[in-house]
Structures are given as structure tokens and as C-alpha cells.
């Protein structure tokens, strides 16, 4: 019996390893293509025969056509994405934590209704607001700006929900003790609640990082100038450069854009898993 179980288990492991190769293949392809010189791009062998970094160099120094240089502004894309990711992380974590604290530890009139309105906003599809939001930001002369990229993402009901669930588990006695010592509501929030909620804040930070870093639709709508492109927009638009063999450079840019998220998720695996479980039991 025990023997049979072991055989089945090994069979399952073998099967999963096979499937996991299917999952690795596109990534292997991406890395291999990014290392191929132009002459090998259309060859059918996966691995490059004469690996070179030319596709990466082009992201920084542009394409050479005789005496012409066609620049791909990859450093600008990377800079833009890093800036908006960083700023929106700070803003989202702060506003979410503040609201979550109010919902978790205060009693106030209308709390239940406001809470359900907030939960309801999670159901709103972005398409319902796309056109008026674009109009609003263009009226405010904010097209092609960081503000326009950052602001819509700061409204994050999911994050408030996640943090509230966690903050409710922080004992109220600690907060009461601080009140007796004369700490005001904001002091209690900043000096006690925020440090104690660090694990949940970490989880949320990973989620928001992924969301902002990989976002595509909103930047597509609101950004029209290349100098303001995010990484996703930049990679998508490399396709449109006519008459150039972009496949290699596109994969090089894709690889560089993917490394930070993969590293982050591997480093923060535990926080990430915790966040997913909270989501699953909401239903």
C-alpha cells in the first residue's frame, strides 16, 4: 500500500515537472531571443549560436541605420515606471492604512453604509470610468503627467479591506493605554498601529507594486508622448517601429521589466500568500 502510494506520488511529480517545462518555455524563449544577434532572430533553434548583448545595448543607445540613429528611450520608460510605482505605493499605503484604522477601531455614524459603499467600489469595472476620466484629466491639463498616472490608482478599496482585517486583530488595550498617556488619534495611528500592521502593509505593498508596475490600459489612454511612456507602453510601442527587427530588443526590454517583479515576489513570498488567502475568504 505504502509502496503504491509512493509510485503514484512520483508519477504526479514527474507529470508536474513536464507541465512546468511548458510554463518555463516562454521565459526561456524570451531570454534566448534577447541574446540573439539580428542574423539569428528568424532561425528556428531556440538557443542563440553566437549570443550577444546587442539587443540590450540598443535599448540604451538606439538602433544604427547607416548614419542614422533611432532611439528607443528605454531608460526613460524605466524611470517613469519606477517613479510612479514608488509614489503611488507611498500614497496608497498611507491613505489605505488611515481609512482601515478608522474602520477597524472607531465607531461612527454611517460606518456600515460607508464600509459597504467602499466594498462596492471593488465591483466597478474600469471601463465604466475610462472615457469620462480621460476627459476629466485632459480638462485639468494632466494628460502626459505623473499625476494622471498615479491618482486613479490611489483609490484602493481592496487594500483598505485587507488592512482593516489585520488591524482588527491588534488588541484595543494597547491603543487605550496610549490614550491614557495622552496620545492623540493620529499619534496612536502613526506610532502604534502602523508599526504593528507592518506584515499586512508588506502584503499590500507587493500587490500594489505588481498592479502599478504592470498596468497597461490606463497609461495607454492617458499618455501620448514617448518621453512619458511607462515600461509596458514602451514595450508595446516597440512593435510599431516599422521596418525594424524589433523582436530581439523587445524581448530584452521584456526581460528587464520582468526581473524586478519576480525578485520582489520571491523575496516577499510569505506576505504575498497571506494576501491571497485573505482575498479568498472574502467571498
Amino acid at each position: 500500500m505504502e509502496r503504491r502510494r509512493k509510485i503514484i506520488r512520483n508519477g504526479i511529480a514527474g507529470f508536474l515537472i513536464l507541465i512546468s517545462l511548458l510554463y518555463l518555455l516562454p521565459y526561456i524563449w524570451m531570454i534566448a531571443m534577447s541574446l540573439k544577434p539580428d542574423g539569428e532572430i528568424f532561425s528556428t533553434s531556440i538557443l542563440p549560436q553566437n549570443p550577444s548583448f546587442i539587443q540590450y545595448e540598443r535599448l540604451f543607445y538606439g538602433y544604427q541605420f547607416g548614419d542614422q540613429t533611432l532611439r528607443i528611450n528605454f531608460p526613460a520608460y524605466a524611470k517613469n515606471t519606477s517613479i510612479i510605482t514608488l509614489i503611488s505605493l507611498v500614497l496608497v499605503l498611507f491613505t489605505d492604512a488611515l481609512a482601515a484604522y478608522a474602520f477597524a477601531k472607531f465607531n461612527f455614524r454611517g460606518k456600515n453604509i460607508l464600509f459597504w459603499i467602499m466594498i462596492g467600489t471593488m465591483m466597478l469595472p474600469i471601463y465604466a470610468t475610462l472615457i469620462p476620466s480621460f476627459w476629466l484629466f485632459s480638462k485639468l491639463k494632466l494628460v502626459n503627467t505623473y499625476q494622471a498616472l498615479i491618482l486613479p490608482g490611489v483609490i484602493d478599496a481592496y487594500g483598505i479591506f485587507l488592512l482593516k482585517q489585520y488591524m482588527e486583530t491588534v488588541p484595543s488595550e494597547i491603543l487605550d493605554a496610549a490614550t491614557v498617556d495622552g496620545a492623540g488619534a493620529f499619534r496612536r495611528f502613526w506610532a502604534i498601529m502602523v508599526p504593528l500592521s507592518r506584515p499586512a502593509l508588506g502584503t499590500l505593498a507587493v500587490f500594489r507594486f505588481l498592479f502599478v508596475w504592470n498596468d497597461y490600459l490606463w497609461p495607454l489612454v492617458i499618455i501620448r508622448e514617448e518621453r512619458m511612456y511607462t515600461l509596458t507602453l514602451g514595450i508595446a510601442n516597440m512593435e510599431m517601429r516599422q521596418g525594424m527587427i524589433v523582436h530581439g530588443s523587445q524581448m530584452a526590454a521584456s526581460f528587464l521589466a520582468t526581473i524586478p517583479v519576480v525578485v520582489l515576489v520571491l523575496l516577499m513570498q510569505r506576505q504575498f500568500l497571506r494576501g491571497l488567502t485573505v482575498g479568498a475568504f472574502k467571498a
Binding site: A13, Y23, P132, W213, L273
Partner: protein, 309 residues
């Protein structure tokens, strides 16, 4: 509790001061939640109301807004492209939800059987697409599907099969898109289902084994019923996600060939941002939102009622 101690603390301060303090203390939670609600009103509630209003109007963004009643909705009902987009999106949603949920359930259960160092590695690999940008995924797959130098044709011609135009053949483009979507979504759902599996108490399985239940019986009478809340969550979130599908078809096929992969969101984007028919685009947006809402409600009910047999 906190507020009672606070009022005790301030009891000795003068009456006038006390009233001001009382007001201030009552206002604190509202101040704390105000950033969210200001943003909600400004960036969601007003835009959505405006969208709803626009769906009854004609507007190019430059001219005067003209109220036209239900004209946009009449246009929509008679618009073959809209129905095509609806059919495409519906097909994608149904096929991906069914195959994706079944696949991720199988994947989650199988990975739970693997012990030791192998299991975290497998989990990480299957999860990779969930953290990779959809832009990156779409372009890598576009190359894999490429008819001339793509990997997939290279493999099937090795086996003596004819090379296929995966993305430009109208009969193959939609299945190609669906395969990529399932590939990309499996790991995320499997992870959520794994969390659900682990919340099922072990003694239930132990008891079943004592009674001599088979593996299938365990799955059918313990795993599946107890996993229902998790599966509901996976179903509802993936249905909402798929109805709003935009980036993947836009990047992989551009909605083509001959609109064979044009989803409702893609059509709505074209109408709004390419033809600048904001009124009509809003009508489609409102319809899409209602469809998303209704279908997730139906899903919810379907999975719910099944419990009570």
C-alpha cells in the same frame, strides 16, 4: 472602549472646550476615511454618472453634447460588430472559466501531493505568469505563435504536421488566444484554491479513510463541498476579469483577424478613442458593466444553490 477612556481623560477641561473637543473627536474617523471617499467621488462616482449620462447623448469630445435619448442603445442592438464582440467575449469567458477553474483545481490538488524541495519550486514556476506583465506575456506568445519563426510551428513541423497561421487564420486565432489566457491564469487560481484546500480539516479525510472511502469519494464528498466558497471566489473573479478582457487580444492579434478576437472592451476602446464617438462608447461601457454585474451575480447564485441539495 477607546472613546470612553478619552472622554474620562478630558472630563476636567472646561465645558466649552469639551464641546469643541467632542466635535473634534467625532470628526476624526471621518477625516481618516476622507481621502478614499474624496477620490471615490471625484474619480469614480462622478465619472460613472457622467458615463451614464453620456450614454444617452452624442459627443465627440469637441462639439456640444447632444441628448439623443436611447438612440445609442438602438444603434448598439442593431450593430453587428457589437454582437460579434459580445459573442467573442462570451466564448472566451465561458471556455476560460470552465477549463481554467477545472485546470487550476487539478493543479492545486496535484501539487499538494508533491513533498519536499520540489513543491515550492513547482509553485513558483506555475505562478510566474501571474506576476508578469500582460504586455510581456502577449508579446512572447506572439513570437511563439509566429508562423515563420515561432517555436510552436517549429515543433509541429518536426512531427511532420503542416505549419499553421496561428494568429492570422480566423479559425485558429480565438483558440490561440484562449490557450494563452488559460496558461497565464492557472497559477493564480491554483494558489487561491490551495489556500482553500489547506483550510479543510485533516480529520475529515482520516475519518473517510477509516470508513474505506475511495480517493474519488473523498474528492466528491469532502473536498468539493468544502471548497465551494473558494471556488465561488475563483469563478466570480475570473468571470469579471474575462468580461473586461482588453490588453491580451489587443496586443496578440489586435482584435483580428476580421474581428475574430475583438472583445467588447476592445470594441469600446475603438469606438471611444479611435472614432471619438464618446456617447456610443459610453452606452457600450454601461452595458458591459451591467453584464459583468449580472453574470457574477448569477455565478454566485448557481454555486450557492448547489450547496442545498
Amino acid at each position: 472602549m477607546a472613546s470612553r477612556i478619552e472622554s474620562l481623560n478630558h472630563a476636567d477641561i472646561g465645558a466649552k472646550n469639551n464641546q469643541w473637543g467632542k466635535f473634534w473627536r467625532a470628526a476624526i474617523p471621518y477625516i481618516f476615511i476622507s481621502p478614499f471617499f474624496v477620490g471615490f467621488v471625484g474619480l469614480q462616482l462622478l465619472p460613472i454618472s457622467f458615463s451614464a449620462f453620456l450614454s444617452f447623448a452624442e459627443w465627440s469630445g469637441l462639439n456640444q453634447i447632444q441628448i439623443v435619448g436611447i438612440k445609442n442603445f438602438v444603434t448598439m442592438v442593431n450593430d453587428a460588430r457589437f454582437w460579434n464582440a459580445l459573442r467573442v467575449t462570451f466564448t472566451i469567458t465561458v471556455v476560460c472559466t470552465i477549463l481554467g477553474t477545472a485546470g487550476s483545481l487539478a493543479l492545486a490538488i496535484l501539487i499538494e501531493q508533491v513533498r519536499g524541495w520540489l513543491s515550492p519550486i513547482l509553485r513558483a514556476i506555475f505562478f510566474l505568469p501571474s506576476v508578469t506583465s500582460v504586455v510581456v506575456i502577449a508579446y512572447v506568445w506572439k513570437q511563439l505563435y509566429n508562423a515563420d519563426f515561432g517555436f510552436i510551428n517549429a515543433v509541429i513541423t518536426q512531427f511532420g504536421l503542416p505549419a499553421q497561421q496561428w494568429l492570422t487564420n480566423p479559425r485558429l486565432a480565438l483558440p490561440s488566444l484562449i490557450i494563452m489566457l488559460i496558461w497565464a491564469g492557472l497559477g493564480w487560481d491554483a494558489l487561491i484554491i490551495t489556500a482553500g484546500l489547506r483550510s479543510i480539516p485533516d480529520d475529515l479525510y482520516d475519518a473517510a479513510r477509516v470508513d474505506g472511502a475511495s480517493g474519488w469519494a473523498e474528492f466528491r464528498y469532502i473536498t468539493l463541498p468544502l471548497l465551494r466558497p473558494t471556488l465561488t471566489f475563483v469563478l466570480v473573479t475570473s468571470v469579471i476579469y474575462l468580461w473586461g478582457l482588453f490588453a491580451q487580444p489587443q496586443l496578440l492579434t489586435g482584435g483580428g483577424p476580421i474581428r475574430g478576437t475583438q472583445t467588447v472592451a476592445l470594441y469600446l476602446y475603438d469606438v471611444g478613442f479611435r472614432y471619438h464617438e464618446f456617447g456610443y462608447a459610453s452606452a457600450i461601457a454601461i452595458t458591459l458593466s451591467i453584464i459583468m454585474f449580472v453574470s457574477s451575480y448569477i455565478n454566485f447564485r448557481l454555486v450557492r444553490t448547489e450547496v442545498e441539495y
